[in-house]
């Protein structure tokens, strides 16, 4: 039974629950918008990294540089699309 629950994955799961609880603090506690967004950005990206490296085994095969490149490229385009659009369409007119 024990060998079915490797420490690495159990710890990763506990860590991801912990990150969720930290993210929830922005709802249950009174804080400024800036502080809340900072907490959410940190917890979401750390959570994504935990999934990618721990659970998806991104770095285990010989193709790992191609895998990290394609994910990194996707994330760069994603961030450019999101923040570029916000800059052009929302923040620019404040």
């Amino acid at each position: 039974m024990r060998e079915l629950f490797p420490m690495k994955q159990v710890n990763g799961f506990i860590f991801s629950l912990l990150l969720t609880i930290i993210a929830l603090s922005v709802y249950f506690m009174d804080m400024s918008f800036e502080l809340g967004m900072t907490i959410l950005l940190v917890t979401a990206f750390v959570q994504a990294a935990v999934q990618l490296v721990l659970f998806m085994h991104a770095g285990e095969s010989e193709d790992k540089s191609s895998i990290y490149t394609t994910v990194f490229y996707g994330v760069v385009i994603a961030l450019a699309t999101v923040f570029g659009s916000l800059l052009a369409m929302i923040w620019g007119y404040l």
């Binding site: 994955q9 991801s16 809340g36 959410l40 979401a44 999934q51 191609s66 394609t70 994910v71």
Partner: protein, 198 residues
């Protein structure tokens, strides 16, 4: 077939390795798909017209349940792959089954949520905000629905054929997909729900 026994079963043939790499490239494209949805969401977030705003219609309890259920299912699919690698096919099937049940529970809550939105007057045509909200949530929900059927078919195939290089490869790729859906949900949870209720 060219078998390499120093690596896990799902990597054992050249075709298997290519399938896994190819799926990662697909996931890169999926990241960009959801990025465009998030972009539209952030742009239209405050364009509520005569409809309700996020703070008025979001409920923390179902969202919290959805998050914990999906996180747990991401954990159990990880355990399924681990069981597969130590050649415990029975345990693997149990973990895969639990994952699919949790996925179905998630979907049930999401459907409840959509009915709730409909009842409080937030439909696809109410405002720019409700349209992009339901499109983003719906795209993720459709991915989960697709994953449920995909996982179910893999489960049946392993029952029939056992763990082979082929079924192990399919299971591993399915686990990548499922983890990815969890990652997308974390961003929906953080930047749609929690940000909206802050």
């Amino acid at each position: 077939m060219n078998m390499n026994h120093t690596q896990p079963l799902e990597y054992s043939t050249e075709q298997n390795k290519m399938n896994i790499l190819g799926f990662w490239i697909f996931l890169g494209a999926e990241i960009m798909l959801f990025a465009t949805l998030f972009t539209s969401y952030f742009v239209y977030e405050n364009r509520t017209g005569n409809g309700p705003s996020g703070a008025e219609i979001f409920e923390i309890t179902p969202v919290l349940f959805e998050t914990i259920i999906l996180l747990t299912s991401s954990f159990t699919i990880g355990l399924a792959i681990h069981a597969m690698r130590i050649n415990r096919s029975k345990a693997m099937l149990v973990f895969l089954g639990v994952t699919l049940l949790l996925g179905a529970a998630f979907l049930g809550i999401e459907i409840y949520e959509f009915v709730h939105y409909y009842h409080v007057g937030a439909t696809l045509q109410t405002s720019a905000f409700t349209a992009i909200l339901l499109t983003t949530l719906g795209t993720h929900g459709a991915h989960v629905t697709f994953g449920l059927f995909w996982g179910l078919f893999i489960l049946m195939q392993i029952k029939k054929r056992g763990l082979t290089a082929e079924t192990a490869n399919k299971s591993f790729i399915f686990s990548l997909y499922w983890h990815f859906l969890d990652v997308v949900w974390i961003f929906i949870f953080s930047f749609i729900y929690l940000k909206g209720m802050m």
